[in-house]
Symmetry: C2
Subunit: 493 residues, 2 copies
């Protein structure tokens, strides 16, 4: 068994440590020497690339185009939108100088005090301000609308406590920024993009998510409404996985972006923004993986199928090589990514453990005896079930198995979420349940005061008011005040 | 005629102004409010995305994997490699603080003086230092080599004089960083990647480039050898379009990256790095475009074919719509991107000028008379030639035409370069020719002194010593000292 695997902490022992170790051991990412910044390693980046590719296609189908805006934002822009500055100004990386020079002793470099910027520049924590400052020149009439633009970029927020993928100072993301002629259209767009995120999570990440609306307290700084997709991790904690914001006219007013509407009146433009980030990697890892390592959904796995030969001598290896070649070719012709690992400097057992750790969905093992029997050993990573099947039509079998695994891990995650979602009506019950984890559907009186008091007392936050929450009369657990629907409480990452 | 087009400066009047205007009028990019930084607009970004996609595939075929390293680099890293710091330290954006706070009057934000970093961070001008600092932990044995990694990223160099795409403070690029067990392997890799750039330029950008070696004076800061692809613009000036560096053991020594080689000895690792950037957009635009606007190679054009209907009434439009639908479907099934522009708020003449400005390679125009005659009008953007051809098999015709255009603009650019490449043997001739532009093949005595003197006197630099430069004895034009081969001199962007 590979050393890396043997050392992996079990989820039941320490879920948090299991995650931290797994990210590093599976070669996904590692901390860098720059505080709070990570290095995304090739295997981790390959998964992120697949996510990007699928999301990008989904965005484009909705009419969105990509563009690129500057990394640096003049400091004064941040304070143009009153609530935005409160949310972002505190955690910024600030560029104050534009030149270094040799130190007097010549051995190092120092900041050149003469190269001080007149106005400091901020590394974007998000790009609403610089983008709306640009949109002012792009929009003058309703004919210029809607403007549907997305950017793939790095952003920076000076986080004090960081964790690989889940919370890092620098992270990679996409941020969509759309401009519309009416409030209705902008609101509809915000929800449309939320649904794109939901569909991506379901269909590619095999991640069941709840869609909902954030409370005023949890809104994006500058938004009138924030929509969210919330996922449940295996420890019952929530992970906010993507948000979509209806911004009203806040940024248009802050940056003076007006247009002539079709009634020939001047009005401010209506806006949305929406984003998902490398945080999705954290959600993916935490949702499906187990004590043996990663479990990846086939649709996002860099290697979908690995084939390992078992042999005693060169002659047997040649025989296996010959048998495997057409299988590899056939699978690749179906767009399935296959690795045939016949490297002879590692034993099969080591390879098995390593590919388990890396979450390769399907493993095929072929030896001399299999060839004699016209069979092959198949293992599916999600359940670790092994099966010996006929070589005839093995490619169809594998293709179906990949679909099965994709669906299977979604169903498993959904089942977990359902089994850990509870309706709670009393404060006693709530306090007890929140310690055990899970989503709690409870009544809430709608005030920020109560929300914050519950957070103080239990560390639970309102994750969202679900989009499909049925009307139901009830009373707040804590205050006894009336409530018209249940919201989701949980502890969260 | 579209206003934008009418206003475009002619190349013969002012080539430089023509370029600046074209980039903005064709909606490729625009200056941002942040000094030296550009906004890449959707149409420009769509071209860059296609470049990225093709390059990325070509890199992966050579075994390269993508990864991601931090945006910020500790200041001290820059001075670890002696020549590197000289090349990059002067033009850096320096992060000194990590927090803003409200100003005393509450109306704006100011830098929090208490949030000063112990060590300043630099926005990466290039990533050798942070990457080699990371490689130290990834490499211990020859079995870990070669390490072949690429990063798509933004970088920042505080340029004083900027031009859209050609020289901007922030730009997008890829940077490959490979590590090898032997000098020979690293050198071969540097040349392999240079050839990838050459092939990409030729086959996708339709850009004939000369491959060569830079003189010591023009090397990348920290390299033992810099290879380059040099293109000629229509004004006869050179544009360095991509570079590949053999770094020897310089960065391994600076960051203490050692490995156990296959003879069980400890040695420093050998390195390459190589990059192309959004500067390629500048090369693309300047090489092929004309006084009517952009000319794009079909393989990188976001829209390859535009179809414009000509009609007098709704009935005619419906007839054209019906005729066009199967053509669009057929072309798309071949992977050709087609736009059918039947918007009725713009006249055909406006559309024609606009798509010419945007460089759409093929324009089809269909009207009632064409349908009666079973014909269609075809215009190719590169030559502006119009032809009326039969509708039968129009899709084959268009597919062939796209190939013709791709090859045609390459041939045209190559012919221009050949007609503007001169062998020059005397200093008088050189001074005269350099004023007229073009590549000058001349003898050079191999010294930095002579190279710099020629630059001072004529603004011409040695672009490269061509890879295929034949041995030829001669004497330096200026000093009369012996030379063994001709090098390429030119003025450059």
């Amino acid at each position: 068994m590979a050393k890396e695997l043997k050392d992996l902490t079990k989820r039941s022992e320490n879920y948090s440590q299991w995650y931290n170790e797994l990210v590093v051991k599976a070669d996904l990412a590692e901390p860098s020497s720059v505080r709070g910044c990570m290095v995304i390693k090739p295997y981790g980046y390959a998964i992120w690339e697949k996510m990007q590719h699928e999301l990008d296609q989904m965005f484009k189908l909705t009419g969105v185009q990509n563009a690129y805006f500057p990394l640096l934002i003049p400091k004064s822009y941040l304070s143009k939108e009153a609530s935005h500055v409160k949310g972002f100004a505190k955690e910024c990386a600030v560029v104050t100088h534009y030149r270094l020079k040799s130190s007097p002793d010549g051995d190092s470099v120092i900041v050149d005090p003469e190269a001080r910027l007149e106005e400091e520049l901020i590394i974007r924590p998000t790009s609403e301000t610089i983008i709306w400052n640009t949109y002012r020149n792009w929009i003058s009439s309703y004919r210029d609308l809607p403007l549907l633009i997305n950017q793939w970029a790095n952003v920076f927020r000076w986080e004090m406590r960081t964790r690989l993928f889940l919370r890092t100072a620098e992270f990679l993301w996409q941020e969509g920024h759309t401009a519309h002629a009416t409030s209705e259209e902008a609101q509809a767009k915000a929800i449309e993009m939320l649904n794109v995120y939901r569909d991506f999570a379901h269909n590619f990440m095999a991640l069941p998510v709840v869609t909902g609306v954030k409370t005023a307290n949890e809104r994006f700084a500058g938004a009138l409404e924030t929509y969210t997709i919330e996922a449940m991790m295996q420890d019952g904690k929530a992970l906010q996985s993507g948000t979509s914001h209806y911004l009203g006219q806040n940024f248009a007013k802050a940056f003076d972006v007006k247009f002539v509407n079709n009634e020939n009146n001047l009005d401010y433009v209506w806006a949305t923004s929406w984003g998902v980030s490398t945080r999705l990697m954290g959600a993916l890892i935490m949702t499906h993986s187990d004590d043996n390592g990663l479990v990846l959904p086939p649709k996002l796995a860099p290697i979908q199928v690995v084939i390992v030969p078992v042999y005693k001598n060169d002659e047997q290896l040649k025989e296996v090589d010959a048998k495997v070649a057409p299988i590899v070719a056939n699978l690749r012709s179906r767009g399935i990514s296959v690795k045939y690992d016949n490297a002879d400097n590692k034993r099969p057992g080591f390879k098995f453990a390593d590919y388990e750790l890396k979450g390769v969905p399907v493993r095929l093992v072929l030896g001399a005896r299999d060839i004699a029997n016209n069979t092959i050993e198949v293992m599916r990573r999600d359940t670790l079930e092994k099966d010996t099947v006929t070589l005839d039509g093995i490619e169809d079998y594998v293709a179906r198995l990949l679909d099965d695994i994709q669906q299977g891990i979604y169903n498993k995650a959904l089942k977990l979420r359902e089994s850990m979602t509870f309706k709670v009506d009393t404060w006693e019950e709530f306090q007890e349940q929140i310690e055990k984890g899970g989503f709690i559907l409870a009544h809430w009186d709608g005030t920020t005061e109560t929300e914050e008091r519950i957070k103080e007392l239990t560390k639970a936050t309102i994750r969202c008011i679900p989009m499909d929450a049925p009307d139901e009369e009830g009373v707040d657990m804590l205050t006894g005040k009336p409530s018209h629907r249940r919201v989701i409480f949980a502890r969260n990452y």
